[in-house]
């Protein structure tokens, strides 16, 4: 069992009389000292909630006193060690180091992961994080995020950096409308600091502060070069609460061959996505489309149930009774979810709404397609990849156009101890065929240097010279071409010929990068290259 959350869960659940025995802010005795013996692990409960700085008062989530008790750093490290050994997906690949030789939770936690590499020589575990528990447990209205209403894409995080505008939220704050920013605009400076070349820490801090404002109402000055422009211009952006539109640009396209193809830009697996997706698929179903282009190039995932709904709305009846995704834990828990204690059962393809933003139990629309085109990039991650994998698991053809996805078939139960919430990979999702091994992502089949699992389709660089949803935009154009001919354009189809312009003129980006959406809690701009 995962002790911290589970223990608090149980404390809240037991009857009042039982609670009387455990109230008062947790026990007062420290965890027993444990001498480190390599390969021997005490139960994590031995060390749970034994904290250097015990929280006092009530846990805002449970309304009960925190279970924290006075302890030592070694107790917290021992908890991490035992918890990791119990639940980490690759626990057997963690080198068991003596926690007593570490001076902080953070430095020890960094060591509690596999050092193995993927086939493409990336770190197998690139998803190992912590968060302040109070910040993690805060809730916000779904779809309301702080930012500028501008989706940036970082093509290069180190000098010479390259940051461009990927898309504009339809509900961009009024203060930023006047900036008239469009997809493809390059950011040259933020608050006077050279974004492309700045190498000093103060400059990098300024850049990150501009990209990640700490509060609503902050103003930052950007110098941008619009697509096709020769001369930069200066705009001021103001941070605000932005209601994001997770599904955009829903429309149909009639190909030269006469086929009616549906298109939608699907950016986020949020609760509000449910109603937007129902509307979008209803629209396309009513229109009678015979193919769908699902644009998830900037979709980093989110609610897995939303992904399941999307997959059903694409494929329809053929999904009924099938596995969308099965969660697999480490080999200590082949049949039981170690966190919930329940029997592991597969998640099916949802055929009805889940009540996230549409009343629960409503039949979902569906296109009943036997194939789908997905537009992807390096930001296509996690739940978005589940859509691809789940459909392939039931032999729905997925045609991938774009670039390799991120490669995250994994997940975790965020777990608190002593005020820090730890994100450590605990499970892997597999499809109906039992496949879930794509740590290097999915890669279009004609990619020159394949990186991930090969999927039918075309390698095309993101095309910032056209609006998303424009039939001339590189990825969409390639998908439409492939729909008619089953042949990929010669790569890179998404690039326009370099314009014959003067020094400093706009050159269309021909690369793929990471989407920056909500601007909070990120530190994106780096001084130098880092492993990722």
């Amino acid at each position: 069992m995962t002790v911290m959350h589970s223990a608090r869960f149980l404390l809240a659940a037991v009857p009042a009389m039982t609670l009387l025995g455990s109230c008062g802010g947790g026990g007062s005795s420290a965890a027993p000292a444990a001498a480190w013996v390599q390969g021997q692990f005490a139960a994590e409960s031995t060390f749970a909630a034994s904290c250097v700085a015990p929280r006092t008062g009530n846990d805002p989530v449970t309304g009960k006193p925190y279970p924290d008790r006075p302890g030592k750093l070694l107790d917290e490290l021992n908890w991490l060690r035992s918890w990791t050994n119990d639940l980490y997906l690759w626990y057997s690949e963690v080198l068991d180091k003596n926690p007593a030789s570490f001076t902080s939770d953070a430095s020890y936690f960094d060591e509690l992961k596999t050092t193995a590499k993927t086939a493409s020589n990336r770190d197998k575990d690139r998803f190992h994080f912590t968060s302040d528990t109070a910040k993690w447990e805060a809730l916000e209205q779904s779809g309301v995020q702080a930012g500028y209403g501008v989706g940036f894409v970082l093509l290069a995080a180190t000098p010479p950096r390259n940051l461009v505008v990927g898309y504009i939220e339809p509900l961009i704050p009024a203060d930023n409308v006047a900036a008239n920013i469009a997809r493809g605009a390059k950011v040259l400076t933020i608050d006077g600091v050279d974004l492309v070349n700045a190498a000093d820490q103060a400059g990098v801090d300024t850049l990150n502060a501009g990209l990640t404002p700490k509060s609503v109402g902050e103003s930052h000055t950007f110098s941008i070069l619009d697509a096709g422009a020769v001369t930069p211009r200066t705009v001021t952006l103001v941070s605000a609460s932005v209601t994001v539109t997770p599904v955009q640009s829903v429309h149909t396209i009639t190909t030269p061959g006469g086929a009616l193809v549906g298109y939608m830009l699907f950016n986020d697996h949020l609760a509000t996505s449910e109603s937007a997706l129902v509307n979008a698929f209803t629209q396309l179903q009513t229109a009678g489309v015979t193919d769908l282009v699902l644009d998830i190039r900037y979709n980093g995932g989110g609610l897995l149930d939303i992904a399941s709904e999307v997959a059903y709305m694409i494929a329809g009846q053929q999904t009924v009774g099938q596995t969308f995704e099965l969660t697999q834990f480490n080999n200590k828990y082949p049949s039981t979810d170690p966190v919930t204690g329940t029997t592991i059962t597969p998640l099916g393809f949802h055929t009805t709404t889940q009540g996230f933003s549409v009343t629960a139990g409503q039949p979902l629309p569906t296109l009943g397609l036997s194939r789908v085109f997905v537009l992807t990039g390096v930001s296509t991650c996690s739940a978005s990849e589940s859509i691809i994998n789940s459909l392939q698991g039931i032999n729905v053809q997925v045609i991938q156009v774009g670039s390799t996805t991120c490669g995250k078939p994994y997940g975790f139960y965020p777990t608190d101890n002593c005020g820090t919430t730890y994100f450590s990979i605990q499970f892997q999702g597999v499809n109906a065929k039992g496949f879930g091994d794509y740590p290097d992502g999915f890669t279009p089949a004609n990619t020159v240097t394949p990186q991930g699992v090969s999927v039918s389709g075309c390698s095309v660089a993101d095309d910032f010279t056209h609006a998303l949803g424009d039939s001339a935009e590189g990825l969409l154009a390639s998908a439409l071409s492939y729909q008619q001919t089953a042949v990929c354009p010669l790569p890179p189809s998404g690039s326009a010929p370099p314009p014959a312009l003067g020094v400093g003129a706009y050159v269309p980006p021909m690369a793929d990068g990471q989407a920056i959406k909500s601007l909070w809690q990120q530190n994106r701009i780096q001084r130098r290259s880092s492993a990722q």
Partner: protein
């Protein structure tokens, strides 16, 4: 079909269920047989926003919750999720989220506007909110 994980939302749920057995909650009641007609707030005011925030606070305890000023004006369902946190590459930290969002639904029941917590069925009458039947959603 799938068990829910033991995360914040579940701890909230269990804490509330436990609380229900321990103390009276005069401001709320268990869901009536007929919840009424799904509704939206017709004219959001500072007073209605304060009342909505107060009721959400009562339902969820001291967990910080950020609401938009136009909450429940465009639809009858209000969903709350963890404040989105992203990894250094800009992707959601938890891109494979197994939990369900916390949801509330607004109903018009006669002259009353009633907010119902979907997971528990607890409901609150909002005295400072004017609500009307939610429009039937049309395709985009």
């Amino acid at each position: 079909m799938r068990p829910g994980p033991v995360t914040t939302a579940h701890r909230i749920a269990v804490a509330i269920l436990a609380a229900l057995g321990l103390q009276s909650l005069p401001a709320c009641a268990v869901l009536a047989d007929s919840p009424g007609t799904p509704a939206v707030i017709a004219d959001a005011t500072a007073e209605s926003r304060v009342e909505l925030a107060r009721v959400i606070h009562e339902a969820l305890g001291d967990v910080p919750v950020t609401l938009a000023d136009d909450a429940l004006t465009g639809g009858s369902l209000l969903s709350l999720e963890h404040a989105l946190r992203r990894d250094p590459m800009g992707r959601p930290l938890n891109g494979r989220e197994l939990t369900h969002p916390e949801t509330f639904e607004l109903f018009k029941r006669g002259p009353r506007c009633v907010l119902v917590q979907s997971r528990t069925g607890r409901e609150w009458t909002l005295h400072h909110v004017q609500c009307v039947a939610a429009p039937v959603q049309a395709p985009q």
